[in-house]
Symmetry: C2
Subunit: 342 residues, 2 copies
Amino acid sequence: MSIREVARRAKVSIATVSRTLNNPSTVDFQTAERVRKAVEELRYFPNSQARSLVSGRSRILGLVVSDITNPFFPELVKGFEDIAIERGYEIMVGSTGYRSERMAACVRRLVERKVEGVAVMTSEMDQHLIDLLVTRKIPTVFLDVGSVHQFINNIQVDYATGINQAVEHLLNLGHTRIGFISGPLVLKSANIRRAAFLECLTRTGILEDEELVAEGDHTIDGGLEAMTRLLESKNPPTAVMASNDLTAIGAMRAVRRKGWMVPRDVSVIGFDDIHFAEFVEPPLTTIALSRRELAEKAIHALLQHIDPLRRKKSPHGAEYGVTPTLVVRQSTAAPRKRRHAE
Amino acid sequence: MSIREVARRAKVSIATVSRTLNNPSTVDFQTAERVRKAVEELRYFPNSQARSLVSGRSRILGLVVSDITNPFFPELVKGFEDIAIERGYEIMVGSTGYRSERMAACVRRLVERKVEGVAVMTSEMDQHLIDLLVTRKIPTVFLDVGSVHQFINNIQVDYATGINQAVEHLLNLGHTRIGFISGPLVLKSANIRRAAFLECLTRTGILEDEELVAEGDHTIDGGLEAMTRLLESKNPPTAVMASNDLTAIGAMRAVRRKGWMVPRDVSVIGFDDIHFAEFVEPPLTTIALSRRELAEKAIHALLQHIDPLRRKKSPHGAEYGVTPTLVVRQSTAAPRKRRHAE
DNA sequence: GTCTACGATGTAAACGTTTCCAAAAGAATA
DNA sequence: TATTCTTTTGGAAACGTTTACATCGTAGAC
C-alpha cells in the first residue's frame, strides 16, 4: 500500500524507493530494478497528496469557465487537458455559471487544493478574488479582461484583425448596411467584443445607424429575438455580424422565420467557429477563435511562472495575443436588391 | 499561512483551531469566535492535501468520459459537478479519447489522487483497470457496460422503452420501412444501442431488410455517409432512426443533399436529445436521455458506498435504471407516396 | 599504505493537518 | 469535603511522502 511496503519487499530503505521513483540516476541500477519489481508486484501507486504536501507542488492547474455547456468551452477544456497532461499536470475545472458566488467558491476550492496556476477563461473576476490568488503567488492568466501584473497574465484576442477581415469580406460582396448583434452588455467580455465591432464598422464608415445594432445574450434564442427586432426596421441590414456563433445561428433562424433566406436576403457572420458552425444550414461564415491556441497560450503563460518560481526568480506577468481569422462558408453572399421592407 | 499561525494569533493550540473548523460544537463559543476572527484576518485556507492525507478522505470524485467535445458530455459534466459540489465533493474529469492507454493513464491519475469514487461514463474498461479500482475498494459506477459487483454499480439505460415509443410514433404516422444507423460497432456501447434498436424493430415485424441498417460512427459526417448509402438502395426507408443525435443530424444533411426534404420525404429520429437537437432545421425528433438524471444516479450510487464505508459496512454494488423518452419535434411526419428511388 | 572523493544507501526531519489521549478546571453528586 | 463527571483545552502521534544530512564502502591519487 505505501512506500514502506515496497521498501521492505525490495529490502531497501524508503528513501531509496523514493529516489528510484523520482531520480533513478542516483541509485544503483540493480537496486533500482529490484525496487521497480517490487512496485510492480505490489501494484504500488504513490499517494500524490503526501507527495505534494512535502514537495509543495500539487501539479494541478485550475481552469475556470463560465459554463461548460456553452459549446465554446468543451474544446478549450479538451485542449487544456491534453496539454496539461503532456506537461505532467492535471487540471481541475470549475464552472461559475456567471454567478459571482460560484466563482468565489470555485477559486476557494482551487486555492485549498493548492493549484499551481489558474486560467480564468470567463468574464471578469472580483478584485478580492484576484488578490487572494496574487497574495498566494498563484500565477493566473485571464482572457481579455486581465490587467498584467506580477503573477497576472492576459491573453488578448486581436478582435480588430478578425473583424476587419469579415467587414472587408462583406464590403467586397457589396454590402453597405451591416448590422451587429452583441452579447449581454452586463458582461465585460461582451462589451469588449461589441466595442471592437463598432469601432471597426464606424472606421470603415459603414455604421451610422443606431438601428443596426441590437443586444443579444450569446444564446440562440437571444440571437433570434435580436435579429427579429433588426428585421422589423424599415430598412433592415443586408448583412449582420454576431458576437458569437450561437447568436448568429439564432439570427439565421429569425431570417428564415420571416420567410427570407440566408444568404440570399441577409448574410450572417458569426464569431468563435464552434464545431457546429460547420454543420448548420447554411454552413456559417464565422471568425474563428482557436480554442486550442488559447489553451496553449494559457498553459504556456502559467508554466512560465511555475518553473522559474522554483528557481526563486518569478517573472512578471505578460500579455499574449491570439488572432482570430475569418472562415468563409455559405452564410454570406452578395446582397440582393430590395425595394422595401416587405 | 498554516494552522499554526492561526493558533498563535488566537492564542490557542492547533488542535483547537482544527476543532473550530471541523467540529465547532466541541469548543467554547468565545474561543471559537476568537479562532474564526484569526482565520478571517489571516485569510487562512486549510490545505486540503494535508487534510486528506491524515483523514484518508480526499473528497474528490472522478469522472471519466470519452470526449468532452462530444455534445453529449458537457451537460453530464455540468450535472455531475453541480451535484458533487452540493454534497461537498469536487470532481476530476478525464477524457479518454476512446484510447485505452489514455483510459489507463486517467485511472492511474485518479487512483493516485485518491478519489473516493469513479464514474465511468464511456465505453467499456479493461478488466485490469477495474481490478485496480476494486482492490483499492474504490466505488465505481458504469454506464450500460458494468457488471454489478462489490464496489461496482451500473446504470442501465432502458433503451427498449424509449425506442418503442419512437417506433410506435413512426408506425402511427404510417411508416413501414424504418431504417437504423448505428454507432461504430467496435464500441460495446454502440452495439448495445444497436441491439436494442434491432430487437425492437424486428419484434414489431418492421425490419426484415438488411439494407435498412447501416453503420455510422456517432459523428455528423458518419451519419451523412451512412444515410447516403441507405438512400442509394432501390427502395430506401421512409424513416430512419439513429444511434445518436449527431448521426441523425448528418442523416438529415444527406437527405437534403439528395434534394429531398425532412420530414416530407424521410423522417429522422435521433437519440440523446443534445441541446442542439432543438435548434437544427427542422428541429429534431429524438429520444431524450437525461444527463442530469444520469449524473444524479451516478453520484447517488457512489455516495451510497462512501458514507457507509466509514461505518465499516460497505454495501454491495447496485443496478440503477434510467428511462429515455421520446421528444417529438419536426423531423418526423407521415410518409409520402413514392414510386421509385428517383 | 594513507588520504580524498565519490557513489550508494540509510536515518530522520520536515510538510499541515486530524484525532486520540491526557490534563485541568469546574460542576454536580454523594 | 471528597469524589466523580463534564467541558474545554493542549500535547503528540499519526498520515505517506521528499530530501538534507550522515554513513559507509570502495576506488583513485599521491
